[in-house]
Amino acid sequence: MHHSPEKADAGLVRQAQVRVREARTLLARPSVRSVEETGAPIQAALGCLLTLRNSLRSAGAPPEPGELVAALGELRREILSANVLLEGAARFYLGWARLFYAAACGYTPTGEPATLVPAGRLSVEL
């Protein structure tokens, strides 16, 4: 059973969409860990798109790219939505960092909250 190239290409976009949606779900509850875990699905989505782009460059654009264009448009909206959530999380942590550093270490001579450098740790197992 052979799939047409258009269907295979649309499949890649859908896979990328699923991965970006995973990232969005993680970013909706943005703990430090979940933001770190966002890297994997985004990288997977990048892989799908790179494969698609290489395929399009070698085989050329399909004669009727409507479905593919629509899927890519949808993917782009998902990416922008993930970006909104990532920036939202960044705003929260940046604001928190300013409050936290100012409370913990005061201010620098230029009025910026001083940065707290976490102490090094050494664990010894006996």
Partner: protein, 458 residues
């Protein structure tokens, strides 16, 4: 013997502590669905141990600690305000979007098209009564469509005034509740650490955030000071400062309890959105409609006046309007006899030059309409309304996600030590930078791929 007694006492104390911890867990579970209830934690404190003083050590309960992070609460309120503003704008715009047809098949565009077709048909038989009457009928349709649009915008503006009044009433009711909580905390010291009062306080603040922007200051006696826009007092201790709305003029003014205009402080939340809609957005749409009505009436009337009617007189004006009241709302057709329409030019009394000039207005650009045709100008207005709706809907969707995200952040407990918190913040920064870069690359790659399929579109 005393050793056994102190050991038993210590064991009994420990049991009491764990009983207290269990009660606390039960209380947290009972309040799982209480709005804005923050989980309480029992802190355990080591007791002094001294054989000489006969102190058996063991464990005791410390004070209850709220895990609520005021910073996260503030982030939720900020998102609530923005979401409230976009939601309100979307609802308001959706109600007026239906007035503006972008397909050209109904409403004002279809009526304009009908009028220019009537002029064209008249130019074929300039002296016949029927096409003359058809011009008057088509002009009546244009006037009534434009006038209906203006009336609907005015009605939307009145409805907005009503909603602003309702929002102000809700704000005053919420600030009255906050005042009551303040009074309770001033009267009873224990209320300051009562999780029920705390939940009520935060729930009320969150409800208030849907309406307007404000700053909350927590005073030493546990009460809250609420300042609208960071400046106008709404609640200070046991004092409530009620606000009011005055929509009697063309612009709505929000006033404080001293009568001072504080409209500039109502910039966000649903109140800010409604004030912007009534004071800026709707007047701007109406102003465009007035420009169109005036432009159309003046151009058609002056073209007719330059020609000659069937009785050899200069053409009578077809349209009338009252600019002081509003050209669009008052646009109407002059009650004239069809013979008073001037189809001919003064130089060729039996010709159709004037009717042809009127028909050609369909495709002529007008300087008073920013160089657009009549239909083009209306089309631009309709498109503007559509774009405003789309932008507002996109903002609503984005802030709905951000609100849910902020609500999830409230649930996160803050770190247990300075070191761990600082390490977490650095870890977040690294994770953020890496993810942000990948999202940028992913977005660019998607655009590249779209460009491969549709060069120049993406």
């Amino acid at each position: 013997m005393s050793g056994i007694i102190s050991a038993l006492t210590s064991a009994a104390d420990s049991l009491r502590v764990f009983d207290s911890a269990l009660s606390n867990v039960q209380n947290n579970v009972d309040n799982a669905s209480t709005p804005n209830f923050a989980n309480q934690e029992v802190t355990l404190e080591a007791q002094k141990f001294s054989t000489q003083e006969g102190l058996a050590g063991g464990v005791g309960t410390g004070p209850l600690q709220s895990t609520r992070d005021e910073y996260a609460e503030q982030a939720v309120r900020s998102e609530q305000r923005q979401f409230g503003a976009f939601q309100q704008t979307t609802n308001d715009l959706n109600s007026v979007q239906g007035l503006f047809d972008v397909t050209g098949k109904s409403g004002v565009p279809a009526a304009l098209s009908g009028l220019f077709q009537a002029f064209s048909a008249w130019s074929v038989a300039p002296n016949d009564t029927l096409p003359r009457q058809q011009v008057i009928d088509a002009a009546t349709t244009v006037a009534s469509q434009i006038s209906e649009n203006a009336t609907a915008l005015n009605t939307a503006s009145q409805s907005e005034s009503q909603q602003i009044g309702d929002a102000v009433t809700s704000i005053n009711s919420l600030t009255s509740q906050l005042r009551d909580l303040n009074v309770q905390m001033q009267a009873d010291f224990a209320a300051q650490s009562d999780p029920g009062v705390d939940a009520q306080l935060h729930s009320t603040l969150n409800s208030l955030a849907q309406y307007t922007d404000f700053t909350v200051l927590r005073e030493a006696d546990g009460t809250v000071t609420v300042l609208m826009g960071g400046q106008v007092p709404l609640v200070i201790g046991s004092q409530q400062h009620a606000i009011s709305a005055n929509s009697s003029g063309t612009q709505t003014a929000i006033r404080d309890d001293q009568g001072t205009d504080i409209t500039a402080q109502a910039t966000t939340g649903s109140l800010g959105a409604m004030v912007a809609m009534r004071n800026t957005t709707l007047p701007s749409y109406l102003s465009n409609l007035n420009t169109l009505a005036e432009g159309l009436a003046d151009t058609v009337n002056s073209t007719l006046a330059a020609g000659q009617d069937l009785n050899g007189n200069p053409g009578a004006p077809l349209f009338t309007y009252n600019a002081a009241v509003g050209a669009a709302a008052t646009l109407a057709v002059n009650p004239i006899d069809p013979s008073q329409l001037a189809a001919a030019s003064t130089t060729a009394p039996d010709g159709n030059a004037n009717a042809l000039a009127l028909a050609s207005l369909a495709s002529q650009t007008q300087p008073q309409l920013n160089g657009l045709t009549f239909s083009g100008y209306y089309g631009r207005l309709a498109t503007q309304v559509g774009q405003d709706v789309t932008a507002s809907q996109a903002g609503q969707d984005a802030h709905q996600q951000l609100l849910l995200q902020a609500q999830s952040l409230v649930q996160n407990k803050s770190g247990v030590s300075l070191d761990e918190e600082a390490a977490q913040l650095m870890q977040f920064q690294r994770a953020y930078q890496a993810t942000a870069q990948m999202i940028v690359v992913l977005n660019e790659l998607t655009l590249d791929t779209l460009n491969l399929l549709q060069p120049g579109v993406a």
